[in-house]
Amino acid sequence: MPNVLIVDDSTTTRLFYRDTLESAGFDVEEAVNGLEALEKAMLSSFDLAIVDINMPKMDGLTFLKELRRREEIRSLPVIVISTQDRPEDRVKAHAAGANVYFVKPVDPKILAEYGRLMTGSGGSRGQLS
């Protein structure tokens, strides 16, 4: 089963994504901020990460930059889901290395669908440049 890392400081949000993605056949792990996410990404292998922008200790943009500069984890596909809805927020996220950017609230069916698409769900890990 593909492995997803959910990164958001809101417990409810993490629970919501967990619910959605477990129902879609994913194994889920959680992190409350970018630094914890980085640690977990370095210790286990994930097929996808869902990342918030606004988090304490290490925000989503910084997480993305750290992720993309580390050889062993840089190809991890990332969906950013944030309340920030300006065009420049989207641009900044993509520049930092986000593959997909959604503005909250995200429709659970769409999240599950993107999850499947980005992980080639059914076994093989999706690789996005």
């Binding site: 417990t11 409350v32 630094l35 980085l38 640690e39 210790l43 200790k57 290490m58």
Partner: protein
Amino acid sequence: MPPLAKFSDAPPEISEDDYQRFVEYFYQRTGIHFGVNKRYFVDKRLYERILNCGRRNFRDYFEFLRRDGAEYQALVNLMTVNETYFYREPYQLECLVKSILPEVVTTLGSSRKIRIWSMPCSTGEEPYSIAFYLLEHWRLVDDYEIEIVATDIDTEVLRRAREGVFNKRSLQYVPEATLAKFTTEEGDGLRRVVPALRESIQFATANLLEVVDDRAYRGFHVVFCRNLLIYFDDVSRREAGGALFASMAPGGFVCLGHSESMSRISSLFELRKFPEAIVYRKPL
């Protein structure tokens, strides 16, 4: 000690929802996650704290816990395993020798001095373990001058650390050959660290939050800060993270306790993963 409250009937109920709330709170604050299999472990300790604080029920206690730093500390203490012994978390000692020090020496320039801080050092097992391990396993140990500074806020544990006397249980993971080299028999199954080693470690009383202005606590290349920061409240943790950062040489490394993570403490450090361990680095 305040008188313990007595429950008139059975211990307070901790419902499934209460357990979840507590687990979420504890995970958010410390990064430590208790699963369903830890129910007994957690409940038992919560009962103890609820009783100790004279609170009527979980909800009352939970409200108190979130406001009171001393209670937070007492609770975390109870929920985490705190024994100290030689070669505890040996993967960090391996990491020191195989990965950390090889990098540290590239930052030294013309200096041959390496400063290591063990804090809190408690009764000395940690700084002595570092000394033993370096002498036994680091092939470059004779090429450098290694200063080990070991501090604690508790003067009593420091006194015992300076004495350097330990029992079999504490030393059980140290190989016999190492014990023979660095300790002598004291009788009653006790062993004492040899004088040369005891005298080479600088034991001192220090509070991390208070030495930030003290020039004696600067330029550390490696800091072992295990099972300390996790007990601090929010603001103190950030201050402690800053104090730690200030005490280190650029490129220096800090090792936290096994279940601790910088993700709950400070944003200042860089994450480094070595084959043996995850550590944190002060950027160059």
